[in-house]
């Protein structure tokens, strides 16, 4: 392995890990708070990629506008998804099948979204061209495009922002309180009927921004959320369901494994190797990297 390989792995890990983290962190926030695996998070990535395409390619506006609009659009979409597919079931949240049922209801909504996108935009993949050109030559032959750097930095800033929001603000603390002791949080006056949809809206908005970035790296298409959803599921389970730090570590760990496998054995074997490693880790540590008991989340 040459020095170029090592730098290349580091750069790819940094970019992939940051974006994977942003895709997955909303899923962790939702699992920690509502105890559901939100299968509609992929649709939010897909919706974000189309917002990116519309704003950057069709309208020709600034990437910042794309990020803001994707945030707003997927916030509304995520809140709506919670209200139609999860809120009606919240009465049953202590039932043993609650996780499974909401897994399916959120998946059902995701399928509807995919087909609505198919109807509106058609099946073709659309390039989402970013206006940021150029890059840094990090090392001989290893190029870090400004566009990727910007995506990674914005992802990190958003994840840190979520952390600060949860740690310091009134509503952020309320989300953690609900995750840790629902009854006590309600006794404090936290309106859970509003907090649940807004939490899912916030989580979806982060996935929506990730969608703008992933659209830039790949394409905008009705299926653009499928692969990110799978990756997000793997990241949150690998990191330990409901653990925010675990999700961030897992995102970079998975980015690193994928990058290393790509450099050392080529793209064809990158994914099989990644899944092989995940299989091994989960057999040894089924609760994930930072999994905690259910009363100790977020």
């Amino acid at each position: 392995m040459s020095a170029t390989d090592i730098v290349g792995i580091a750069v790819t890990t940094f970019i992939l890990g940051s974006i994977y983290g942003l895709v997955a962190i909303g899923m962790t926030l939702i699992y920690g708070t509502l105890r559901i695996l939100d299968m509609s998070q992929g649709s939010m990535v897909m919706a974000g990629s189309f917002v990116g395409w519309g704003v950057l390619v069709i309208a020709g506006w600034n990437p910042i506008v794309a990020i803001l609009l994707a945030f707003a659009a997927t916030f509304v979409l995520g809140t709506f998804t919670q209200l139609v597919s999860v809120q009606p079931l919240m009465k049953r949240r202590n039932a043993i099948d609650f996780e499974m049922i909401t897994f399916i209801t959120t998946f059902a909504v995701a399928i509807v979204f995919t087909n609505v996108a198919l109807e509106i935009f058609g099946p073709q993949q659309r390039n989402v061209t970013f206006v940021i050109a150029g890059g840094i030559n990090v090392y001989h032959g290893v190029n870090l495009p400004y566009q990727s750097l910007a995506m990674a930095v914005v992802s990190i800033v958003l994840m840190a922002g979520l952390g600060v929001f949860l740690a310091r603000t009134r509503w952020g603390m309320a989300i953690r309180a609900v995750a840790q002791d629902l009854d006590a949080a309600r006794l404090m006056g936290v309106p859970v009927g509003k907090l649940y949809p807004l939490t899912m809206g916030l989580a979806s908005a982060l996935a929506g921004i990730a969608g703008v970035f992933l659209g830039g790296l790949f394409f905008a298409s009705p299926q653009a959320g499928d692969q990110p959803l799978l990756i997000a599921l793997i990241v949150v389970i690998f990191g330990g369901l409901g653990s925010l730090p675990g999700t961030v570590y897992a995102a970079y760990a998975i980015g690193f494994i994928q990058a290393t496998a790509e450099v050392l054995v080529g793209t064809t074997w990158a994914l099989p190797i990644l899944y092989g490693v995940i299989l091994l880790v989960l057999i040894i540590r089924p609760q994930g990297l930072m999994g905690k008991p259910s009363e100790a989340r977020l």
């Binding site: 009854d183 006590a184 936290v190 309106p191």
Partner: protein
């Protein structure tokens, strides 16, 4: 006569099909410390949970400052000025003591004055201030109880419901907890408190109600009931 802060009448509530509270009635006047005493499993905790909205009554009326609250959500009832220090303390285990207290000031009107409220709570609970940066799950039983009480003081309340403040605590910790409750009483806080026996409530109870099988069977002043040999002998254990 003034409107009672809390008026419960013909209240029925329980878990599943089994009623635990069976037509219970009780009122608490402004500034009064009312204590409900009764054996385990006779509905003390269920009553408090129903009054604060954690449990929906199947029948009956709850008036808070004259407003009907039976069947409303806990967050709504909390907004009317009811503070419930629940069994098990209801602390947020992974949050620090200070964050737990701040959650006590969650309503928008209290949140603005949270720094002042925090200073006041720390003054009243120096032991809690010493633990302010610690996660709640690392506290001892006595510290948890005091933190839960301190959290209850982070907002203006009309009435505090306190569930068995002595439960599971060492005698010295019980003295500290009841010392604080005594201070709340001196500050004219309206309190509805439940305990299993008379042992600790002598200094603070204005009125004592005895609950058995989900109904109040005797009510009176502490002096009156604690001198009644049948009451003391039958249910109430040591004095």
């Amino acid at each position: 006569m003034s409107t009672p802060i809390l008026a419960v009448s013909d209240l029925w509530a329980g878990y599943g099909d089994t009623p635990v509270i069976r037509g219970l009635g009780v009122t608490v006047e402004p500034g009064e410390v009312a204590v409900i005493i009764g054996p385990n499993g006779h509905g003390k905790t269920t009553l408090l949970r129903t009054v604060s909205g954690l449990l929906k009554p199947t029948r009956g009326e709850v008036l808070l400052d004259g407003q009907p609250t039976a069947g409303r959500t806990p967050e709504y009832i909390s907004g009317l000025g009811l503070v419930h220090v629940p069994q098990g303390d209801g602390l947020f285990a992974e949050m620090t003591v200070e964050e737990n207290l701040l959650m006590g000031a969650f309503p928008a009107s209290s949140w603005r004055g949270r720094r002042r409220a925090l200073a006041r709570a720390y003054e009243l609970f120096p032991g809690v201030r010493d633990r302010s940066g610690q996660r709640a799950r690392t506290l001892s039983g006595g510290e948890r109880r005091l933190t839960a009480l301190a959290r209850g003081l982070m907002r203006q309340s009309r009435i505090m419901l306190i569930d068995e403040p002595s439960l599971g605590l060492a005698p010295v910790a019980i003295d500290t907890v009841y010392g604080v409750i005594g201070e709340l009483k001196s500050a004219s806080t309206t309190i509805l408190l439940v305990e299993e026996n008379f042992t600790h409530v002598g200094g603070i109870a204005d009125t004592v109600h005895i609950v058995e099988m989900g109904v109040i069977v005797r009510s009176g002043s502490f002096d009156e009931l604690s001198r009644d040999p049948t009451v003391v002998g039958t249910y109430l254990g040591s004095l």
